[in-house]
Symmetry: C2
Subunit: 283 residues, 2 copies
């Protein structure tokens, strides 16, 4: 497997693949890989001739008081895992390679980015869409892969791709979970054993909400309150948001109908975790 550390090296690698008529799949990550990332890589492996994974902890998507500095990094381990999942080349640039002195350009999706995680993390999605635009222009893939766990991120990127006419297909892959239901996240590493137990409250609350809706509850406020109670019953939890929203527009729902997103962000100790589920409610 190739390790590429400069934009020029990626351009050369991609140009050689293109000259041979090969299709290219891109898996953008911040590294510290887990099975969620690897499921993206395996999907890319099946659908493309060449698979490139980017590993870059992107500073522009972290707020000033967030965990950019302490975000877990382990490039050696990531390279082995990526190779095992069929990745052909890892692009792992330095921050200065992506954001040289004088950097000044940002890509912004309006509307969709102002709710849920966007409300709690101002500027976060602007950083995401900016770095993803750069990766798209550097790699020029046929397809790019994103996890459903970051539902809003995937929706924002699809909107950006449609609006800015990137000639790229965006493919989303279901959330990968531990046996007990906890969604995989590089940030799970931050949790103490006790916090790890409390982190289950996210999955439990989503299950509870889904069950209530399947049982016929259509009042979003009722479902949301039940979910909030489930979360706050666990030690060290603090709710950032519990949202019941239209899955396409992310607008909050009062009456539950159509494609519905249950999404939540919860602080467990000093770690902010997110999870979501999408339901089809047709009655």
């Amino acid at each position: 497997m190739e390790l590429l550390q400069t934009i020029a090296a990626v351009r050369n690698y991609v140009a050689a693949a293109r000259q041979r008529g090969l299709s290219i799949g891109l898996v953008p990550t911040m590294g510290y890989l887990h099975e969620g990332h690897l499921s993206l890589a395996r999907a890319a492996r099946q659908q493309n001739d060449v698979v490139i994974m980017s590993i870059f902890v992107n500073p522009t998507q972290f707020g000033p008081n967030e965990d950019f500095a302490r975000y877990p990094r382990d490039l050696e381990r990531d390279r082995e895992l990526a190779a095992g999942a069929g990745v052909d080349a890892v692009f792992a640039p330095a921050v200065e390679e992506m954001y040289p002195a004088g950097y000044a350009t940002y890509v912004q999706v309006e509307g969709l980015t102002e709710v849920l995680c966007g409300a709690s993390r101002p500027g976060h999605f602007r950083g995401v869409t900016t770095v993803v635009s750069k990766l798209f222009n550097i790699v020029q893939p046929d397809r790019a892969y994103f996890g459903q766990k970051d539902y809003q991120q995937a929706l924002v990127i699809k909107r950006m791709v449609r609006d800015l006419n990137f000639p790229i297909e965006i493919i989303t892959i279901p959330t990968v979970r531990e046996a007990d239901g906890l969604a995989l996240s590089s940030r799970n590493k931050y949790l103490t054993p006790e916090q790890r137990r409390s982190a289950l409250s996210l999955h439990r609350a989503l299950n509870l909400g889904s069950d209530l809706i399947k049982a016929g509850e259509r009042e979003a406020a009722v479902v949301r309150r039940a979910m909030e109670k489930e979360i706050t019953a666990w030690p060290e939890t603090r709710i950032d948001y519990v949202a019941i929203s239209d899955a396409d527009t992310l607008k909050p729902l009062e009456k539950i109908a159509g494609r519905v997103l249950l999404a939540l962000a919860v602080w467990v100790g000093n770690t902010r975790l997110i999870d979501n589920v999408v339901l089809e409610v047709n009655d």
Copy 2:
């Protein structure tokens, strides 16, 4: 010459050219073509196998009280002129093709866009960089051509291309002028005969400023005042800005040195005209 009116038609046209290994030059315009645009097209003709010109009066780069609605349009004439300059295909989309319902994504260059025309026309450059990003992703040219008359625009686009890693070479072409020095502009059409005479004040002021600097004047305030006097001596003129700036950063200069931009925007009646010149001052 081909007339393409949809994004899908451009993608097909470009894919066919790419399959034959042909290079592509893009000339983005708002139409109502004059010799300035045609000089861009001729440069593109010399340097590329295929030349595509876009003709699109882009609503997102006009302010709410600006001349979007009355901006001159004449597609039939433009097609003839483009064909005569060696353009292979004109892309002339409807507004709804470029900005369908729910459109929400914008590209923004900070810093460079906050001075000169950016200060007078808030949001203007955001509209420019957004539509140019779209055109770049639709056409995927090897090279794109912009006029030096819109100096700040070309600088902003170069910054965007570098920052977002568009694999495109930006080529700027010198301003084309009437015999008496007036820079060509589609907006010159708005001028009455008397205003047409006053419009010469821009070129005159730039010449005066250049001459003062060549004669040894190094105080920007002195040169600027002389230029302002020249402009206001003509009927119906109103200065938007007269700037003496670093040609790379657009920061205002006090002492004139290095690569220096003399730039101005002047209202002549209800028409806002711009012009500029770049000098090398090494002493």
